[in-house]
Subunit: 411 residues, 2 copies
């Protein structure tokens, strides 16, 4: 006995390099735990994957209502549709452009299971107030912090405040060099483990989960989707995330100091105690002041070489060389899917037999969201972040000033 | 007039480098079109994302049946669940370990919408025969070629044969250096465009699609998921994909020449005209020959330092340092979800009101799949591909030989 390694003998392949293989591993969760203070972090393939994982962790499915905003990127609402739940839209605060807590209260029904606020453009939603509302009504708060991964409320990093938080790393305040990835964060081990079932690798679930009710689904990776984040360590700019964010805030503060008195332009508002991290620098245009439409004003800025976008209407159309403005955008509740309410040809999930009161979505539902979507114009993070500094901001200010000074050419 | 660039004046930011920005773009579709001969290719975030895109392109949803195999990775079946359709399992051919065409015929019902064969371990499924069956019954054939992106049937590359084909690039025959990504391929422009609605960027759909029935959903990125492939060009090893595959085939042929007469081991079968690209080199163990179980045999090989895995049972547990064998694996129809048939707590999608005959899944349904899952043992692509050559293969053969020569230690 003892010739076989298993029974005590020598190993055939003792040197790991004898087979010149390429097995690789990955792990960035720990750095994010330390950065945010959240107890549990799971890397995902994207912010959307993180949001879907959170919704599944909260047990949300067909017939359940989730209160969110229509003033957001598609992924927020797409995640709700993906778990076959019903999005219910609350209006926004006209200053921060984030969810209006009073309207959330009005939209709660016995079918409501969660509130899904968005830290839009980098300004945190009023999470502490929402947590109070949620506590009162036994709801989950899932924070879409995809655009705000370095933001803070009263000195506390987002990611450690709501029940669960979703991050995105594609060109966001924390980003990956390969351009993708996301994460969900929570202080609750049960939610963390159930989120793994959204689409983590079966063997990762088997290795990490302790709850038998989670482990029993490990063999399918939960519901069988793939939300795995694959790249290796080191691709994320976590170490300089705060420095980069603070430099961008300084740039945006400079823009505001130079633009706040320009007639027709309302510069971004920042709520006291809230750290706005400016994924976008979003101003509001008043078409009546100069008798020039927002779209015409943006057209003039783009012609000057400054990329500004009406984000809700056109989306970021620099995504690929083939990309074009979506044009038919606007707040989410006005888009085709919500008029047709028929996702797979059979009315799902809006008119699913599990839905108690099938929703109707119409123009006029959300007056503030609809008005702001027609007025906003946005400058994206790449033009606001290092290496751009006040010299670059000066170019932006001069460009806007040139257009304002010659505004009569646009009428 | 003419001071503004829009009205003919000079540009403020004529030099693209004046704002030191980091806008990036990505495009790998063209190289894959050229490589496979498929007319249309869309990059996705993963093979799973590609499969879901294909199913949505084919209009598959609640109440629809998709015939597939239980002898596969979770993603094949997970994709079907994600679009709320019902998986119906056909058995496999015991030699190629791919779908059994005769059993597919038996499983067709009026609710069947598609056949989803898998090129498992790198051996193509019998796509030409399946296309004939599908034509007869007006079904789609969606080929899961995630493990076989360089494979061929009668000299034709997979990707250009079935109605739609899904590729994965995470450690597969074609792979990305960042470790993720996928693509779907088709010769049909309508299916290509509808697949974009699975989760491509809204502005990409707006830029690429021509069909008004597709364009009208662009503003949500279709159903709002995110299947976007984000990395830049150049990360894929497409240029040496065939050379690498052929070198791996030569390594596997050498293994087979050395192992085919070893008692208790059946080496992989390759159907004439089919190019098996060996994502795994999968042998069958006969526990009766040496009176030693497959698991005990694998345990001994792993103790020697050779990583072998019972893929269906344990999955590839080298995925992360935290990973563990799933242990409760086996063919997909035996896993918890298919016993409970209750994905979101309300019986979806198995017992959805749109389902005509709710399925029941049980041990004994698929005798060949169940038997093979108990016998297979697999060596993964990293230990079979360059830089590994016949010296490395010799180590693998010697290791297996050592265990066989000392097999009495295992009883």
């Amino acid at each position: 006995m003892g010739r076989l390694a298993l029974t005590g003998g020598g190993k055939m392949i003792a040197d790991e390099r004898r087979l010149r293989s390429r097995w690789k591993t990955a792990n960035m969760d720990e750095a994010l735990r330390e950065y945010t203070g959240a107890k549990f972090v799971q890397m995902t393939n994207s912010g959307t994957g993180a949001l879907i994982s959170c919704l599944l962790a909260a047990g949300i499915g067909p017939g359940d209502e989730v209160i969110t905003v229509a003033y957001t990127w598609t992924a927020t609402v797409g995640a709700i549709l993906r778990v076959n739940a019903v999005p219910v839209f609350a209006d926004i605060d006209p200053q921060t452009l984030t969810i209006d807590v009073a309207d959330v209260r009005r939209k709660i029904t016995p079918q409501t299971k969660a509130i899904l606020p968005v830290d839009f453009y980098g300004h945190p939603a009023p999470i502490p107030e929402l947590m109070a509302v949620a506590h009162e009504h036994h709801l989950f708060v899932i924070e879409d912090a995809c655009q705000a991964s370095t933001a803070e409320i009263d000195g506390q990093k987002v990611g450690s405040i709501a029940d669960m938080t979703a991050f995105s790393f594609s060109g966001k305040p924390i980003y990956t060099t390969y351009g993708g990835g996301g994460a969900y964060l929570t202080n609750d081990r049960k939610l963390f483990e159930r989120g793994l079932l959204g689409g983590q690798h079966p063997t990762l679930i088997a290795g990490v989960a302790q709850d038998p009710d989670v482990l029993k689904y490990a063999s399918m990776g939960g519901t069988g989707d793939n939300f795995r984040n694959v790249p290796n360590d080191g691709m994320m700019q976590l170490l300089d995330a705060d420095a980069r964010t603070n430099a961008r805030i300084a740039n945006c503060d400079y823009l505001t100091s130079q633009l706040e008195d320009v007639p027709g332009i309302t510069t971004p508002y920042v709520r006291p105690g809230y750290k706005h991290v400016y994924h976008y620098y979003t101003c509001l245009w008043d078409p009546d002041v100069h008798d020039v439409s927002r779209d015409r004003f943006c057209e003039a800025l783009n012609a000057e070489g400054l990329f500004v976008v009406a984000y809700l209407k056109d989306a970021n159309y620099r995504f690929t060389p083939d990309s074009k403005p979506i044009a038919a955008g606007g707040p989410i509740h006005l888009r085709t899917i919500f008029r047709e309410r028929n996702l797979y040809g059979k009315g799902c999930p809006f008119q699913c037999p599990h839905v108690k009161n099938p929703p109707v979505y119409a123009k006029g539902d959300l007056p503030v969201s609809e008005a702001m979507a027609d007025r906003e114009f946005c400058i994206g993070q790449p033009d606001l972040s290092p290496p751009c500094d006040d010299r670059d901001m000066r170019v932006i200010v001069d460009t806007i000033t040139k257009v304002i000074d010659n505004i009569d050419e646009l009428r």
